[in-house]
Amino acid sequence: MSFYDVIHSYNWNEIQKEIGRRTVEDVERALAARTPGLDDLMSLLSPQAEPFLEQMAQRAHRLTLQRFGRVMGMFAPLYLSNVCTNRCVYCGFNAGNAITRLTLTPEEAGTEGESLRRMGFRTVLLLSGEAPQVITEEYLKRVLERLRPRFSSIGIEMFPMAEKRYRELIGQGVDGLTLFQETYDETSYGEFHPGGRKCDYRWRLEAPERGGAAGFRRLGIGALLGLNDWRVEGFYVALHASHLLKTCWKSQLAVSFPRLRSSAGAYEPRFPVADRHLVQLICALRLFLPDVGFTLSTRELAPLRDCLIPLGITTMSAGSHTEPGGYSRPGKGGAQFEVADGRSPGAVAEALRRTGYEPVWKEWDAASAFA
């Protein structure tokens, strides 16, 4: 049974109503549970849980500390191309946006990688728009040949692919797959993704389990916060995570919390998520998923990022550029979104140390898996 089948046994509107019906007593019961279940999670995501935020934060902190320690995994995104055939209404790379389109040559990708390596990064996340005619198999192979010697761990965040293709990429040195569903609500998914291959909700939804079956060591999922009611979205992210923990039991799972920011298309989020609600979401999910990694990008402002560190975040990016070539030649191509935390990786590392956390640049040695 794939997650597509699982998700069909739940109804978005019903979940929304159920969360709205939760009482203070439900929240208290959820907080008393040793291992909160899906039912408890709905209570923790509800408006009635808001007065309990500090209590939830304390518990989220303790759980994260015990499971992950006083360390923070560091990674950097490397944008290979902003060419895209999709028309996602909220994205700077939308095919209809008038931005400078750019695809790095494999040599340029190597130069970008070298810049990141010099900043201290050993874990890199490769990104692109959905442009299979540009991001070809041969192209990626040549990019990976240049990046493999420079990084101990390489992830991809691209368009969904077939299991066979994922296997090939693993053979070429990729160990992580990140793919956000954007929204788990199938109806509005269609409205947000009116053109391009991304229209196919199911192909995207099932990609993480195809990745798990192919053998990725790390899987990352998430919803784009701002598209829909975050409380319901949070429930579905947790449901997806539970499914992956059972089906892809050998992959380390991570959940990201990308909050929509202004981009070239000037999209205004339909359901803006306030800071305190972002905190509630992170804490509720941590209580439900104590062993899952939580990722925070530079979409958030530095002061907020620093405060979120102890609440459950386990990996973060730093010094990011979301335009291709941004590390060696900033500002040439159009960016996917505006970075809010513009501090250098060194400055972020320093902030972590001040908060009592050790930045960890290397968490896996691909040399042991890659002959």
Partner: protein, 262 residues
């Protein structure tokens, strides 16, 4: 018969003698400086390091540069390996980089509970022993697996007390007792020990040593906690050597049923 208390009571692994029976891990610490002070306070002589975390070719690596190899045996571990093949490769990388051929073997296909895979662990142990490594395998508390590993030539067995990082103590007590009873190699209780009392309990049972990481690294004061574990281990060992009375569930009156026989 009671074991005599010896002033000199070293832990011997693969012919090498250690004064401390507490092994310490290096993960989860807030900084290399705190870790270094905790190692010192614990009195440990064996320090494990995750190969996946360190850069063996980088002399300034934050963990490696904080562990004084003149003072501690640096015991690299294969954490993160999901199968025998990956674990063997990690071990070879460490030896090629100049580490001593000692390896703490961890094969954990499930990255969330980090429970060890018995089949792959045995497979990797066979290969590594054959290649001349001194192998210290992390295992579930499985007495038969412990014997099988001993037979292929591992230097210790390291059964878990409860899932790693869980701080829940000796949940596998009954099985660890059997492992200790049968073992001809040192038994090091690894994983799940959350308090010095847990460490003392393992030592009182007759474990040869314990390994601790999370409980020290994430304590409010890791240095003080390291010191507390040192005392817990020493107290437990001393109690074991002194010969503990067996615990009784009820108070025992003096011969209420057989007194007439006198």
């Amino acid at each position: 018969m009671k074991t005599k208390i010896k002033a000199d009571d070293p832990l011997i692994i693969a012919g090498r003698s250690f004064g401390s029976r507490l092994l310490l891990g290096t993960g989860k610490f807030s900084s290399a400086r705190v870790m270094k002070s905790a190692l010192k306070a614990s009195g440990t002589e064996i320090v494990t390091v995750a190969l996946r975390r360190v850069e063996l070719d980088n002399a300034r690596d934050s963990i490696l540069s904080a562990v004084d190899v003149g003072r501690y045996l640096l015991l690299p571990n294969t954490s993160g390996a999901r199968n025998a093949e990956e674990a063997v490769r990690l071990a070879r990388l460490a030896r090629a980089a100049g580490c001593e051929p000692w390896i703490k073997l961890e094969v954990t296909p499930d990255p969330h509970y980090l429970l060890p895979d018995p089949i792959e662990t045995l497979k990797a142990a066979e290969i590594l022993v054959r290649e001349g490594f001194t192998v210290l395998p992390y295992i579930n508390a499985d007495p038969v697996l412990a014997k099988r590993l001993e037979e292929v030539g591992t230097a210790t067995v390291m059964p878990l007390g409860s899932p790693i990082g869980s701080n829940r103590g000796l949940k596998t007590r009954e099985l660890i007792e059997i492992i200790i009873e049968k073992a001809r190699v040192p038994v090091v209780v690894d994983a799940g020990l959350g308090a010095p009392s847990h460490a003392a309990e393992a030592m009182e049972m007759g474990a040869d040593a314990v390994l601790v990481n999370t409980a020290v690294a994430v304590a409010g004061d890791p240095v003080a906690m390291a010191r507390a574990f040192k005392k817990g281990v020493e107290a437990g060992r001393e109690a074991f050597l002194a010969g503990l009375g067996s615990p009784r569930k009820t108070a025992e009156a003096s011969s209420p049923l057989t007194g007439f026989l006198r």
